[in-house]
Every structure is written in structure tokens, then in C-alpha cells.
């Protein structure tokens, strides 16, 4: 059995250290070691996006990344996007526009949408659909997810303008 690796990561602003087998997937390290059960395992072949987190500023499917690859990285999960007292705009608009049903895809969906709005703060509907195409949902038919993201963009841009 190969030696365990000493892994150091920063997750949602917290420094974390642990020993892990190199083959451990990032999604399991987050879920089982750090108890961050927001990101989920859906397909395991990088098609569904339920495991989406942000690693060093990139949207990443954490079922297709070994924990060793993430060693030293800064990671953000759904748990790091908002807090019960200060929800992320997307967390509010997803609820407002019924952008979720069973909730299983939602953490990955919102985490990806967060990054999408950083890449493109003012997307068209088509750009949202293309930019969210790495995340599958079986419940909503996407229409309200798209609506939720466009609403979040509008709110964030409105807040930006108000601040300027």
C-alpha cells in the first residue's frame, strides 16, 4: 500500500491538514474528512457536476480530482459561499425563483453559477445555459435555474451600480 500523503488545503478560508491515500478523491476528502457534505457524488465520470467546487479560482468537478492534485490549493464549497445570516445572492434567488427541487444538484449548481457570474457578470440567457452545461439537474428542467442566475446577476449588478 502506498504511503499516505500529507495534505494541506485551505477550504472556505480554513486551513486544513490531514493524511490521505493519494487515490482519495477530492470529493470524498471534503465530504468525509471535512464534513462538507454540500457537494455531492452524482455520476462519478465528470458529467453531472453535483460535486462542483472551486479550486484555485476554477470550477472543478471534485469527483475527478485526486486529493493529491489539490494539495496546497484554496478551495471553496457551497458552505463557503454564504452563511445563514448572510446568504449569497444566488442562494436567495434560487429560492425566490424555484430554482431547485430535490436539492441534490443545487450546491454544485450554485457553486458553478457563482463562478460563472465572476467570469461573466452580465450574461445573456444563452450564455447562462452554455456556462451551466456542466451541471445536470433531473428535477427542474433548468428554466427556473436560468431565471435564478439571471436574477442574481441583475441584483449583483444593481448593487454594484448603487455602490458606484
Amino acid at each position: 500500500m502506498p504511503d499516505k500523503m500529507h495534505i494541506k488545503v485551505t477550504v472556505n478560508g480554513q486551513d486544513e491538514e490531514f493524511l490521505a491515500e493519494p487515490r482519495e478523491l477530492l470529493i470524498y476528502a471534503l465530504r468525509e474528512r471535512l464534513n462538507l457534505t454540500g457537494p455531492h457524488v452524482g455520476c462519478e465520470t465528470s458529467h453531472c457536476g453535483a460535486c462542483t467546487v472551486i479550486v484555485n479560482g476554477k470550477s472543478v468537478k471534485s469527483c475527478t480530482m485526486f486529493v493529491g492534485q489539490a494539495n496546497g490549493a484554496e478551495i471553496t464549497t457551497i458552505e463557503g459561499l454564504g452563511s445563514p445570516d448572510a446568504l449569497h445572492v444566488l442562494q436567495e434567488t434560487f429560492r425566490e425563483h424555484h430554482g431547485l427541487q430535490c436539492g441534490f444538484c443545487t450546491p454544485g449548481m450554485i457553486t458553478r453559477a457563482h463562478k460563472l457570474l465572476e467570469e461573466n457578470p452580465n450574461p445573456t440567457e444563452e450564455e447562462v445555459r452554455f456556462g451551466m452545461a456542466g451541471n445536470l439537474c433531473r428535477c427542474t428542467g433548468y428554466q427556473n435555474i436560468v431565471k435564478s442566475i439571471l436574477a442574481a446577476a441583475a441584483q449583483m449588478n444593481g448593487a454594484q451600480e448603487a455602490a458606484e
Binding site: E21, R23, E24, Y28, R31, E32, N35, L36, T37, G38, P39, H40, V41, G42, C43, E44, T45, H47, C48, A50, T77, I78, E79, G82, P84, L87, L90, Q91, E92, F94, R95, E96, H98, L100, Q101, C102, G103, F104, C105, T106, P107, I110, V128, R129, F130, M132, A133, G134, N135, L136, C137, R138, C139, T140, G141, Y142, Q143, N144, I145, V146
Partner: protein, 805 residues
């Protein structure tokens, strides 16, 4: 006083009751990643289970050697059928009266079948140990085609006594499961034989899979000290699971607690009992430690319950004017290796005999032959009531084919055959009593909304342009009018493993006027915590925001049959309304006492009881609740609680009218959905926002099924569609926007008139998408082409019609 200044409208709005687009209470958790799904559960000392599965579709298992696996550090146990046999758990009953191997007993019958169960310290060791279990197989001939299976000498189920009856009567071949018939065969054949117009067609609804984003899983925890088993799992029917677990294991039912935590989508996949659940329980009993089993996506697609796989041979007859006179259908149903259909016991083909659809058809016959093959077992209701999607697809294809034969517009053919409003309650030729409907109004609204006549004109122009060589794209207008049958069901007709299909609600009003209600159902994303509180708010006058809804824990919730077949609203929703009414009846007595008047002198008004004729004298529900606990009221027990078990007098019959407009590229087989209009009538509308979301989601699953999603096998029985690369689930990019609309025809027998909606869009959506593809080629003579309509199959249609020449 605040109450004094609040208008009645304000008080109604404050309740967030029926009809309110109330925001979902579940979402607060889900959007923050604080859902609690099975794989999130972590118990001290928990072990992990993983399966050794068969690579072959049909083989004899000559030997299983577990030595190398057991020798691996961290492996605790490897279970095989031999270990389960002394407990009589190597086979288990299916929901359809058949039995199914839990672990391979002498042979395997489908690829991916469970052969051995490895239990280890963690999921990594378990996966390694799976590789070390040595199984010696001897391959046997494979049957993947049900028609071949009915002719073959190869016996699939050697455990069944040759010639003996099955659970649903005589079996006429060793690979035959049942013949189930309904309707008047002789009369139907007579009508068809002498009809002016008859069309005959084989309509195949291919094998697919519900594929919820969360796979199936369980955590079993046997507490040997006090003899209690706790089982967490992805169960759409937790109470039934408890009963089955008790019957199978011999553990008394009060010592079993089954918990369905949050469920990441079900769509029928999580109704049945799978070997993984049984093995987790046994492993926990054997080891004395909690055992988790969560399947991966390939296992989910290859081994858990599939849906559909119905070969429907239909004949429909009509007058020259287009009045339908008779319908005949024979189905060859591929059930796979075990009959594990999720159907009420009496109905081995579910409610397929709703296949006369929305039409007034005087005489009809249906016969369904169930057949064993070397494929995974199942036959579940994937986002539909039992076999209703198959039925709706069948009749909506037959109507289109008949319209072609009659050279009639398919919309008009539907219109002249619809059951008329005044015919309800309507007795169908196949034995159903349709509760209510107004099909003509819905149809006219739909056709007007989409500008149907203009679409047909545009389509005709497109065909001409195509013939002139100016375009390579054809245009299809997909029509669908469906009638669902949901809310199983009257206990006299419907049971699952002997459990009558009632459902239940138990309400406790707290002294301060808030409440908790528990139901026998379980949400998998439908938003029960939101909508059931709305029903109660309207019934009891307690704001929905002050009502907690709880489901899924068999230690606390009243017994119910669970959530599938759009039964939650029709059955548990009715129980909820009736329990609410019991609360209200007692509250009325308390209010009268407090106001020092007779019970009959007060009446309910939104959130209070008022003195008739003097509404300034009233007691709010909040005041009444407090009084129920702090006053000694003569002749009335303290407390304010109610329980209702509801046995519905009939099913409910939601319906809808869908139109899909699609461009089809003849050269590549690609399609572009330009427009999709969905009108749903689900009776009384509880929460329009939730209804719209259900329709969007159901339509997208219909899109997937119609346009590409399938479970396909090669000739050796290898599953070719085991990952999400090949099993088609559309992304946001391939999914169109939908326009939703409604009419509202309440159910006359449901306490609040609601009919259920979650499955309608899948039932009606598939024919709409498929009919659009067919319709695009109607001008060139296409009568019937099998789904899924993926690129190459659409291209094949065009190729067969000579459109590439």
C-alpha cells in the same frame, strides 16, 4: 389589537394557504448545502459494503472464492448466497409477486447482478476486495429479445417449477410470466373486423431508467444491545420497507425504524427493495456495526429498476368520418430477469388499461404478456403512474396514425373523439371511472394559444420549400392530449405487498398555535414541507409558516404507502385536509365555549371562528389552541390533535394538452425545439409555483426519454448505456424553455379537489416530442418509428423515406 386592523384579505394572505405561490421552506437548507442525504450519514464505527457483480448476462456460477478478499487488511466479511440461505434471505419477494435473488444463487441472469457483498473498513478497501473475489462462471445462452425468449428452449428461471402458475395465473412457456387481460375481446374484434377504417401498428416504448441524480443507498445499524434495527435509505415508501424488512428478517416491526432522509430525486427508482438494502441489514446484523452501501452510477443504471420496455401491438377502428369505434392492444412486456414491477398486486400491467386515453371509445381490449429476459429487473413507474406513460404514448401514436389513414388533421380527430364534459363521471370501456374533465375547453385553449392554424400553414410551406430544394429542415407539430390516472388508490383495488394504498396524516397543534403534521409519504423534491402546510393552513387557519411538516421516519410518522404515482396530493393531501377538518371541528366547539354560545352559532372565517351575524366577536385559532391546553372545558378532552387515514373512493384523472413545435434537420438527424406549450389541468391548484416547476421538470425528463435516453443491450446482454456519457440526460443547453398554462377542473371526490401533477408532464410530454418528430415526416408517409429519436434514428427515418437520395 393587530387583528382589528387586518383586513380579511390580509389574513388570507398571511396564511399562505391554497393557491399561494409560497416559497419553499426546504430551500433554505438545500441552497446552503445543508441537505441530509443517505451518503451524508456517518455513524461511529460504520463499515462500507460493495458488490461483486456479474460481468455476464446469463451464466452458471460454478464457484466463488473469497479467500484472497478476506485476507486483505480491513475486510470484515464477504457475503454470498450461501451465507444468506440459512436466514432465508438469499432470495426476496418482489413487489410483483415474484421473487428475486439477493445474491447469485447458482446462476446469474443479467449483467450487473449482485454476486457477493464485501464489507470493509472503508470504501477503498471494499473496492479493492471486490477485485479479489474470484468467481468461476460458465456462460449460458443469452436472451435479450422478449419475442425470442418466448420461443427459446433456454430456461431462464430454473427456480420456477415448469408448468406451474405464476403470481398472476397460468404461464404458457418457461420464460412467460403472465397474461393479463381486460375488456371485451370478442366484441372488440367484431367491431374492428367490420369497421370502415382500421389501422394497425406496433408501438414500442423503449427501455429507459429513472436515473435520479442521487443513486440508491442505505445505512443499516443493528443495535444488538436493545435489539433495534435502524435503517436509513433512499426509500420512496419507508413504511412498506419497514414491514418488508420485518417479514424478511424476523425482527419484530416495532424494533425496526426506517428513515428516509432527504432524497435526491426518485422518479420511481426508489420504490423497490434492492439487494443492497438487504445485504446492508444482514451485514450490520453479522458485524454488529453500522454498514453503509451506496451504489455508483453504473450500478444504478445497470442493476436497479428500469422503466418501460413495452412492445404494444395496436389496432384502432373508426368510421370514415373519424369516430373511433374500437381499440385492441396486445403488449409484449419485457420484465427482465425477475418480475420486479412496482404495481398494485391486482394489476401486473399497472394501469395500462387507461390506454383508451381521453377518448370516448365504446369497446376495447387489452392483453399484456409479461416475459423474462436476461436484462435487469424492474418496470417501475418512472415519473408516471403505473404503466400510464406507456398507455398514453400508445393511444397518442395510434390517434396520429389513424389521422394519417383518414387524411384528417390530428387535432380535429382528437376533438371529435374526446369524452365530452357532460359524460363525466365517465365509465371507460376498460373499466375506469374518470372523475371529471373538460377536454374540449383545454384543447381549444391550447390550439389557440400556439396559433395552430398558422403553424400548419407554415409547415405546409416548409414542405413545399423542402421539395423545391430550398431547405433541408422539416417542421413537426407534436400534439398530445393525455389523461393521467393517479392517486392509488382505493384500498379495495390497490395494495402493495398486501398493504392497502391508503395514506395518512397526523396533526398536533401546539398551545401557542403553531403545529406539526406528519405524513406517510416522503418528498423527493416535490416540496411536501411547503405544500402540505398550505393545505393545512387553509383548513385550520394556522399560517403555513407556523406548521412543520415531517415525513419519512417510521417511528414518528403514521403508516402510509409512500410517494410515487402522483399519489401524495391525491391521497396524503386528502388525509391532510381531513385531519385539518377534524382539528377545525374540535376548535369550533372550543370557540363556542369561549364565546359562551352554541356550537352552531359560530362559523370558521380564515383564521378564526366568528359569531354568526356578529363577526366582531371571534376567537382566533391561536386563542383556541391555547384554550385547548389551559382550560378545563366540559365534555371536551384537552389537547388539539387529529389523525386521518384516507382511503380514496376513486383515482383522480389529471389531464393536459401539449404542443411541441420542432425543426428537424433531415441530413444530420438533429432537432431544434422551437416552442413547447403545456396546459395542465390538475384540479385545484395548491401552489402554482411548485406546479410550474413540476411541469418543467417532467417535460425535460420526457424530452430525454423521447429524444435519446435508453437502456440498451448488445446481443450478449452487455449494457451499452452505463454512464452519463451514453445515458442521455439533457443539459441546460439542450433543454428548451416551456410555456405553461392551465385550466382547473376540480376532482369531485377529493376533499380539496386536487388531482396531482408531478407526473403529468412526463406522461403527456413523451408523445408530444415523439409526435413532433413523426409529424415532420408525415408528408412523406412516415407512420411509425421507434423512440428514442436520437440523431441517427431520425436520420434513419429520412434515409428510409428516400430523403437523402
Amino acid at each position: 389589537m393587530k387583528d382589528e386592523v387586518e383586513s380579511r384579505d390580509d389574513r388570507v394572505a398571511n396564511l399562505k394557504g391554497l393557491g399561494s405561490a409560497r416559497k419553499r421552506v426546504e430551500d433554505v437548507r438545500f441552497t446552503q448545502g445543508k441537505g441530509n442525504y443517505v451518503d451524508d450519514i456517518k455513524l461511529p464505527g460504520m463499515l462500507h459494503g460493495d458488490f461483486v457483480r456479474s460481468p455476464y448476462a446469463h451464466a452458471r456460477v460454478k464457484s466463488i472464492n473469497i479467500d484472497a478478499a478476506m485476507a486483505l487488511d480491513g475486510v470484515v466479511a464477504v457475503l454470498t448466497a450461501k451465507d444468506l440461505e440459512p436466514l432465508s434471505l438469499h432470495w426476496m419477494p418482489t413487489l410483483a409477486g415474484d421473487k428475486q435473488m439477493v445474491l447469485a444463487d447458482g446462476k446469474v441472469l443479467f449483467q450487473g447482478q449482485e454476486v457477493a457483498f464485501v464489507v470493509a473498513r472503508d470504501r477503498y478497501v471494499a473496492a479493492d476486495a471486490v477485485e479479489l473475489v474470484e468467481v468461476d462462471y460458465e456462460e449460458l445462452p443469452v436472451l435479450t429479445d422478449p419475442f425470442e425468449a418466448m420461443k427459446s428452449d433456454t430456461v431462464l428461471r430454473e427456480d420456477l417449477e415448469d408448468g406451474a402458475d405464476g403470481a398472476h395465473g397460468p404461464r404458457r412457456h418457461h420464460n412467460h410470466i403472465f397474461l393479463w387481460e381486460e375488456g371485451d375481446k370478442a366484441a372488440t374484434e367484431e367491431v374492428i373486423d367490420s369497421a370502415e377504417v382500421v389501422v394497425e401498428e406496433m408501438v414500442y416504448y423503449h427501455r429507459t431508467h429513472p436515473c435520479p441524480l442521487e443513486t440508491c443507498g442505505a445505512v443499516a445499524s443493528m443495535d444488538k444491545v436493545n435489539g433495534k434495527l435502524t435503517l436509513y435509505g433512499t426509500f420512496q415508501a419507508p413504511h412498506v420497507v419497514r414491514t418488508v424488512a420485518s417479514l424478511l428478517s424476523g425482527i419484530e416491526e416495532h424494533n425496526i425504524r426506517v428513515v428516509s432522509p432527504d432524497i435526491g430525486g426518485g422518479f420511481g427508482n426508489k420504490v423497490g427493495v434492492y439487494p443492497g438494502y438487504v445485504c446492508s441489514i444482514v451485514a450490520s446484523i453479522v458485524t454488529g456495526l453500522p454498514v453503509k452501501w451506496v451504489e455508483d452510477r453504473m450500478e444504478n443504471l445497470m442493476a436497479t429498476a428500469f422503466a418501460r420496455d413495452y412492445w404494444m401491438q395496436g389496432k384502432i377502428s373508426a368510421t370514415k368520418e373519424g369516430k373511433i369505434t374500437g381499440l385492441h392492444c396486445h403488449v409484449t412486456a419485457d420484465h427482465g430477469a425477475f418480475d420486479a414491477c412496482a404495481d398494485p398486486t391486482k394489476y401486473p400491467a399497472g394501469f395500462f388499461h387507461i390506454c383508451t386515453g381521453s377518448y370516448d371509445i365504446p369497446v376495447a381490449y387489452v392483453g399484456v404478456d409479461g416475459v423474462y429476459t436476461n436484462k435487469a429487473p424492474g418496470g417501475v413507474a418512472y415519473r408516471c403512474s403505473f404503466r400510464v406513460t406507456e398507455a398514453a404514448y400508445f393511444i397518442e401514436r395510434m390517434i396520429e396514425v389513424l389521422a394519417m389513414e383518414l387524411n384528417m388533421d390530428a387535432a380535429e380527430l382528437r376533438r371529435i373523439n374526446f369524452i365530452r364534459k357532460e359524460q363525466f363521471p365517465y365509465q371507460s370501456a376498460l373499466g375506469w371511472e374518470y372523475d371529471s374533465g373538460d377536454y374540449h375547453t383545454a384543447w381549444d385553449k391550447a390550439l389557440t394559444s400556439v396559433g395552430y392554424d398558422d403553424l400548419r400553414r407554415e409547415q405546409a410551406e416548409r414542405v413545399e420549400a423542402f421539395k423545391r430544394g430550398e431547405t433541408r429542415k422539416l417542421m413537426g407539430i407534436g400534439l398530445s392530449f393525455f389523461t393521467e390516472i393517479v392517486g392509488a388508490g382505493p384500498v379495495k383495488n390497490c395494495d402493495i405487498l398486501g398493504m392497502g394504498m391508503f395514506d395518512s396524516c397526523e396533526i398536533r397543534i401546539h398551545p401557542t398555535g403553531s403545529a406539526i403534521a406528519r405524513l406517510g409519504t416522503i418528498s423527493q423534491g416535490q416540496g411536501h414541507a411547503t405544500t402540505f402546510a398550505q393545505i393545512l393552513a387553509t383548513e385550520t387557519g394556522i399560517p403555513a409558516d407556523s406548521i412543520t411538516i415531517e415525513e419519512g421516519d417510521t417511528d414518528t410518522a403514521p403508516y402510509g404507502l409512500g410517494t410515487y404515482g402522483s399519489r401524495s396530493t391525491p391521497v396524503a393531501g386528502a388525509a391532510t385536509a381531513l385531519a385539518g377538518r377534524k382539528i377545525r371541528a374540535k376548535a369550533q366547539m372550543i370557540a363556542a365555549y369561549l364565546l359562551e354560545v352554541h356550537d352552531d352559532d359560530v362559523e370558521f372565517d380564515v383564521d378564526r371562528f366568528v359569531l354568526k351575524g356578529a363577526p366582531e366577536r371571534f376567537k382566533t385559532m391561536k386563542e383556541i389552541a391555547y384554550a385547548a391546553y389551559n382550560q378545563a372545558i366540559p365534555g371536551i378532552e384537552p389537547g388539539l390533535e387529529a389523525v386521518s387515514y384516507y382511503d380514496p373512493p376513486n383515482m383522480t384523472y389529471p389531464f393536459g394538452a401539449y404542443v411541441c413545435v420542432m425543426d428537424v434537420d433531415v441530413d444530420t438527424g438533429t432537432t431544434d425545439i422551437r416552442q413547447f406549450y403545456a396546459l395542465d389541468d390538475c384540479g385545484t391548484r395548491i401552489n402554482p409555483m411548485v406546479i410550474e416547476g413540476q411541469v418543467h421538470g417532467g417535460l425535460t425528463e420526457a424530452l430525454a426519454i423521447a429524444m435519446g435516453q435508453e437502456i440498451a443491450y448488445d446481443d450478449l446482454g452487455n449494457c451499452k448505456t452505463g454512464t452519463l456519457m451514453d445515458f442521455f440526460i439533457p443539459t441546460a443547453w439542450e433543454t428548451p424553455n416551456y410555456v405553461t398554462d392551465h385550466t382547473e377542473t376540480p376532482s369531485p371526490h377529493h376533499p380539496i379537489g386536487a388531482k396531482g401533477v408531478g407526473e403529468s408532464p412526463n406522461v403527456g410530454g413523451v408523445p408530444a416530442f415523439s409526435n413532433a418528430v413523426h409529424d415532420a415526416f408525415r408528408a412523406f408517409g412516415l407512420r411509425q418509428a421507434h423512440m428514442p429519436h436520437d440523431h441517427w434514428r431520425i436520420w434513419q427515418i429520412a434515409n428510409d423515406l428516400g430523403l437523402h437520395d
